[in-house]
Amino acid sequence: MEKLLALLSENARLTPAQLAAMLDTTQEKVNEAIEQYEKQGVIKGYRALIDWEKVDQNKVTALIELKVVPKPDRGFDEVADRVMSFDEVESVYLMSGGYDLAVIVHGKSMQEVALFVMNRLAALDSVVSTATHFILTRYKDGGVVLHSGEDKDQRTGCVW
């Protein structure tokens, strides 16, 4: 049923009947499998992929690099818990390489994001340093191409 997950991750609006047809199984089995995945926490939820820039010109997103001092007993978990508790924070990743935590932050303006980094993130006692990178344009997000002039079917040749 891994194909089921692949199909849902591309398009969660396919009906159980359509999924069953594609996977050559029954609707009941599809429903059962989805329920199982939901219970096990494999499927965490369903959401729309939105190009917010089309709706709200003022939305700003930044990637913040944090260098932190891990706690002797809880490592990076404690500071990660603290960072992800903020509503402004969309994602938190522990990274290999030159810094420790990658944090994706949303705000209404660059200033708002800057203030959030200064007052909230930099202020945490295990945070050693921050570097803020504003996202200028999203070309592709969540596997979906957002900015491209090539939406139209380009197959214009023969029709055999």
């Binding site: 396919l14 359509q18 594609m22 996977l23 197959r155």
Partner: protein, 390 residues
């Protein structure tokens, strides 16, 4: 003022233009059209194959190739056909690399047909066999395949049309537009008749790698005694999503390939050089790409067959290519009316079945070489359209 009709070839002028083009032209003028009329993959050529093409340009390998195609490519083609279909050919003498499968079809017919020879052509089928047979001086004789036989050619249908003038049988399976395939047992029945009546066969197996179900495609040349009677045609367009590279090949008895090579040499010179280098990469390292695309097509195939059947547009389960051929008779419309009203009302482009031969009337070709969101949206629109007919 020159009377152009009088200076041009009469046979050529008498050919009918293809009926597919019309619906495609309507579709290309509209916005928000979902075109399920296009007979080519929606995938781009796999990146490593494109890269091989790019590299030849970077290195300046922009010269002609040998007439038959590069030896390395012919060797890889022979290995591929032996590996996939268990038929052995000599790369030095039994293969010619052509500009798409189409050139191979044309050259095959012109190599075999003498004026007045009858060429048996199953329909519904790809639109080029009849005109090319006519241009070769042959007389096309149509074999109508039927929905109740899942559009397979039967030995009885074949036998019924054989005359003392019959020379060649064209075998277009997996079939465009019906999606029909011929399994080993069906091919063996045909082979018996071919042998009995001493026919030659042009087996156009361009969709061979897009065969669904548990058993893989069986080549007609792999049937006992048929290799010596068969020109096997295949290519890169469908299996590797390489339509625009224009590369195919013909394999067959040494004597025939020698004559076909003459035609190719005088008319074409050689197939595009960079396409040949890309094709070598495809044959060597492209098995996974084929499998990935095939599994995508397979899911779409099930989705669309299930969807159309539940709308009352019944279709038998196609086992090859990327087409479904639903019966639209329940709508009370002709194929042309159905497709024309559908595109204007709901902006879904499909092709009337009669574009592939008169016996395609009452059916339509729906190509599922399109994305799952587009297919589900098209099904919704078709449902809405059918609702307005009641």
């Amino acid at each position: 003022m020159i009377d152009y009709q009088s200076v041009m070839n009469q046979q050529l002028q008498s050919l009918k233009p293809s009926g597919i083009r019309k619906f495609f032209d309507i579709a290309s003028e509209m916005d928000d059209v979902i075109s399920l009329s296009i007979g080519e993959p929606d995938f781009s050529t796999p990146w490593h194959v494109r890269q091989a093409g790019i590299q030849t340009l970077e290195k300046g390998k922009t010269w002609y190739s040998p007439n038959r195609g590069f030896m390395e490519l012919r060797q890889e083609i022979c290995k591929w056909v032996a590996r996939k279909y268990q038929v052995e050919y000599d790369p030095a003498t039994d293969v010619v690399v052509t500009v798409g499968g189409s050139e191979a079809i044309d050259a095959s017919l012109r190599s075999l047909v003498n004026p007045g020879d009858e060429v048996l052509i199953p329909e519904p089928s790809f639109v080029c066999y009849v005109p090319l047979a006519q241009m070769a001086g042959g007389v096309p004789v149509i074999l109508e395949t039927k929905a109740e036989n899942d559009f397979r050619l039967t030995a009885e249908e074949l036998r019924a049309k054989i005359t003392p003038k019959t020379k060649v049988l064209v075998l277009p399976f997996p079939n465009n537009p019906t999606g029909a395939v011929m399994r080993r047992e069906h091919l063996e029945e045909i082979a018996a008749v071919v042998k009995e009546h001493n026919l030659m066969v042009i087996s156009d197996e361009i969709y061979s790698e897009l065969t669904y179900g548990d058993t893989p495609h069986v080549s007609f040349a792999a049937i006992d005694g048929m290799k010596e009677r068969t020109i096997l045609i295949n290519g890169f367009s469908k299996a590797y999503a390489m339509t625009g590279w224009r590369l195919g090949f013909a394999m067959g008895p040494t004597a025939i390939i020698a004559q076909m090579t003459k035609l190719h040499q005088y008319g074409i010179m050689s197939a595009p050089t960079m396409s040949q280098y890309a094709a070598i990469e495809a044959l060597k390292n492209g098995d996974d790409d084929i499998e990935e695309m095939r599994s995508q097509y397979d899911m779409r195939r099930r989705l669309i067959v299930d969807g159309l059947n539940s709308l009352g547009l019944t279709c038998f389960e196609p086992e090859g290519a990327f087409y479904v051929f639903p019966c639209i008779k329940s709508s009370g419309l002709s194929s042309e009316e159905f497709c024309e009203r559908l595109i204007y009302a709901e902006k879904v482009a499909i092709v009337p079945g009669n574009a592939f031969g008169d016996c395609g009337e009452g059916f339509a070709r729906v190509a599922y070489s399109n994305s799952i969101p587009n297919i589900t949206e098209a099904l919704k629109r078709i449902e809405r359209f059918l609702g307005t007919l009641k």
